[in-house]
Amino acid sequence: MTDPLLAALPERLAAHVALALTALAAGIAVALPLGVWASRRPRVALSVGAVAGAVQTVPSLALLAFMVPLLAAMGLRAIGYLPALLALSLYSVLPVLRNTVAAMRALDPAVLEAADGVGMTPGQRLFRVELPLAAPLVVAGVRTSVVWTVGSATLSTPVGATSLGDYIFAGLQTSNHRSVLVGCVASALLALALDAIVALAERGFVRRRRAWIASALVALLVIVAGASVTLARGRRASGRGAITIGAKTFTEQYILARVLSRQIQRRAGSEARVLDSLGSTVAFDALAANQIDAYVDYTGTLWTTILHRAEIIRDRRRLRDELDRALRARYGVRIVASLGFENTYAIAVRRSLATERRLRTITDLARESPSLSIAGDYEIFSRPEWRTIEQAYAPRFASQRSMDPALLYDAARSGQVDAITAFSTDGRIATYDLVVCDDDRAVIPPYDAVVLVSARVARERPDVVAALAALERSIDAAAMRAANARVDAQHEDPGRVAETLLRR
C-alpha cells in the first residue's frame, strides 16, 4: 500500500480493537458480578446505579482527559494506553450493570422458589437458573457497551493512545476529509461487526445453538489474534531506544513534530516516532513524566498555562531564559532551541468587514463588538490571555462560542461569525483573505515556538539534544505559514512538508 493514509490502517485498527476489547472485557468483568451483587440489595443497587449513571454523564472526552492527571498523581503511566483503557472501561460498565440489575430483579420469584425447592445450592441457582434467564437482557447491555466503547475509543487519540481516532483528529485539523472518513467508516464497521458477533452469540444462547455460539467465539478469536499479530509486528519494528515526539492537535504541530523526528533520525541516527493529536496540557504532562521525549510548544503558553504566571513579559529573550530556568528547576524539562518564528493568538476578521467598520486594531474591534459575534478554539476563552484581552480592551461581543479550530477559519470566511481567534502562522489567514487586528496595547505575550526535551533526554541523549539544538532559528514565520497552507489548503502530507522545511 503506497497510500500513507491506508498504510497506517492495520496498526490503528489493531490498536483500536485491542483497546476497545480490553476495556469491554474489564468493564463486563466488573459490571456483571457487581450487578448480581447489587440486585440482591435494593439500596446498593440504587447507589451503584447512581454512581455509574454519573460517570456516564461525564462527556467521554473529558473523562479520558481527566485520567491523565489522575494517573500521573498516582505515579502511573499517564499517557497512552492506560488512561484510555481506564476511562473506556469505566464507560463500558454502566449499560451492562444497569441491565444486569434490571434482569436479575425481574426474574419470576416462583422460578427462584422452585430452584430452591428442587435442591439447588445458591451457586447452582445463580449459574443454572438466574444467569441463563437474565442473559438476553444482560447481553443487550453488552451490545450497547460494545457500540459505545468502540465509538468512544476514537476519542483516546488526545491522551496518546493509538486508535482509529488518529484519522479523525488529524483529518479534522488538516481539513483532510478523506482521513476523517476513513476513521469514521472503519470505526463504524468495527462496531457493527462486534455487535453482530455478540448478537449471534446471544441468539445462540437463547435458541441453544452451540454452532452459533462457536462461530461467534471463532470470529472474536480471529479478530483478537489479527490485532495481536499486527501489534506485535509493529512493536518489533519500532525497536528500543526510539525517541517519541509529541504533537498537539493542530496542523503546525503535526508538521513540526515530523521536522523534529526527521532531524533526530538524520543527525542523531536514532529511530523517532510521532505521537499525534495530544491534548494541549497532555503534551506537557507527558514530557514532564518522560513519556514523550520532545515536542514544540510556545513560550506564552508555557508561561501562563504551565507555570500559571500572571505577569506578562514582553521581552522575548528574557521570557525564554526565565522559562528555561523555571521548567528546568521544576520538571527537569529543557528548552533546546527557538525555531525562529512566533505563533501568537490573534483576532482576525474578514477583510470586507474590516474595511466597512474600519477595524485596524483590537481597540477598534472592541468599540464595534456589541454588534459582532466572535468564535474561538476550545481553550482560548478560558485562558489567561483572553482575560488579559478582556481587561485591556473590554470587548462586549453580542455572542461568543467555541468550535473546532479547523472550522474557525471557514466560519469567518463564510460570515457565520464576524471575528475569530486565530493563530498568527495559520496559512488560512492569507488564503481566506482575513485581516489580523493589531494588539495596539501590546497585551498579548510573545509566543515563540521552542523545542522542549524531557529530563531523560536532556540527561541521557546529548546526541538528540544537539540534533534538536541545530534547529535554532531555522524556520521563519513566512516559511511556517506557507507550510501550514500546503497541508491545510492543498492537503499535502505533513511528513512531506516537513521534509521541505528541513531542506531549505
Binding site: V111, A114, A115, D116, G117, V118, G119, P132
Partner: protein, 258 residues
C-alpha cells in the same frame, strides 16, 4: 418418614404467622393443612424444607432437626409442589423433571428412564411433551409436570402448597384422584396445604385445621364432622356439606334421587 412440628413459632416482623405449632405426620400418611389465608398453613409447610426457619421450636423429619441439614441437601430428599409451579422456562419438560436427579449426579440414562416413567405416572405422553418448554403446555399439563418434578428423585417426603388451586374443576378433580393413586403406589409421607376442606377430605388421611397461626383441630374427616372443636371447624364442615347438598338439589329437580 415422620414429620414433627414441635412448638414451632414463626414471626414476620410484628406479626406472628405461626404460634407454637405442635403437630405430627406419621410415616406414609398424607396430612392436609386447611385454613383461610393468613392461617399459617403455608408457613408451617415451608418450615419443613427450610424455605423458612422457625424463630422458636423445631421441625423434625425422621426424628432429625431439619436445621442440622444443609437446605439444598434436605430439599433433594423432600419434593415440593406449589401453586405458581415455577417450571424453569429455559428448560424442556424432561430437563425440568430431571432437575433434582441431575443435582444428585444420576447418569443420563437413569434420568431419562425416570423422566419417562414419571410422565406416564402423571398421565402425559413422554413422546409428545418431553422436549416441550413450559410456555407450550396447558395449565393442567404444567401442573402434572410440576408434580412429576417433585417426585423425580423418589423423595420420601412430598410437600404440596395448594398445588391444584389454579386449575379448572374437571382438571382439578382428575389430578386429585391421580394424586391419591400415586400416593398409594409410592407411599411417601405427604403434607398437602389447601383452603378447600372438600379437597382435603379427598386427598388426605387426616386433616389439620389452622386459624390465625394456631392449630384448632386435627383428625380424620369423620371426627371433624362429628366432634368439631369449635364453631370455625363446624362451619367449615357445614359449608362443604351445604355446597354438596345445594349442588344435588339444583341438579336433581322433581324429586328424583341422584
Amino acid at each position: 418418614m415422620s414429620i414433627v412440628w414441635r412448638r414451632a413459632v414463626k414471626r414476620f416482623g410484628d406479626r406472628t404467622a405461626l404460634a407454637s405449632l405442635d403437630l405430627e405426620v406419621e410415616h406414609g400418611e398424607v396430612l392436609a393443612l386447611v385454613g383461610g389465608s393468613g392461617s399459617g398453613k403455608s408457613t408451617a409447610l415451608k418450615l419443613v424444607n427450610r424455605l423458612l426457619d422457625p424463630d422458636e421450636g423445631a421441625v423434625l423429619v425422621d426424628g432429625e432437626d431439619v436445621r442440622a441439614i444443609e437446605p439444598h441437601a434436605l430439599r433433594r430428599r423432600v419434593g415440593y409442589v406449589f401453586q405458581r409451579l415455577g417450571l424453569f422456562p429455559h428448560w424442556t419438560v424432561a430437563e425440568n423433571i430431571g432437575a433434582t436427579p441431575s443435582l444428585l449426579g444420576w447418569d443420563r440414562a437413569r434420568i431419562d428412564r425416570r423422566v419417562d416413567a414419571l410422565l406416564a405416572r402423571v398421565e402425559l405422553d413422554p413422546a409428545v411433551v418431553r422436549g416441550r418448554f413450559a410456555h407450550e403446555l396447558s395449565g393442567g399439563q404444567a401442573q402434572r409436570v410440576a408434580v412429576a418434578r417433585a417426585l423425580a428423585a423418589e423423595p420420601p417426603v412430598l410437600l404440596l402448597d395448594e398445588p391444584f388451586g389454579a386449575l379448572d374443576a374437571i382438571t382439578r378433580g382428575q389430578l386429585q384422584r391421580r394424586f391419591v393413586e400415586i400416593h398409594r403406589e409410592l407411599g411417601f409421607t405427604g403434607v398437602f396445604v389447601t383452603h378447600d376442606l372438600g379437597e382435603a377430605l379427598l386427598v388426605a388421611d387426616r386433616v389439620a385445621v389452622l386459624a390465625d397461626g394456631a392449630l384448632v383441630q386435627v383428625g380424620e374427616g369423620r371426627e371433624l364432622y362429628e366432634r368439631p372443636a369449635d364453631r370455625y371447624v363446624a362451619s367449615l364442615v357445614e359449608a362443604a356439606i351445604e355446597q354438596a347438598d345445594l349442588l344435588r338439589s339444583r341438579l336433581c329437580v322433581r324429586g328424583e334421587s341422584p
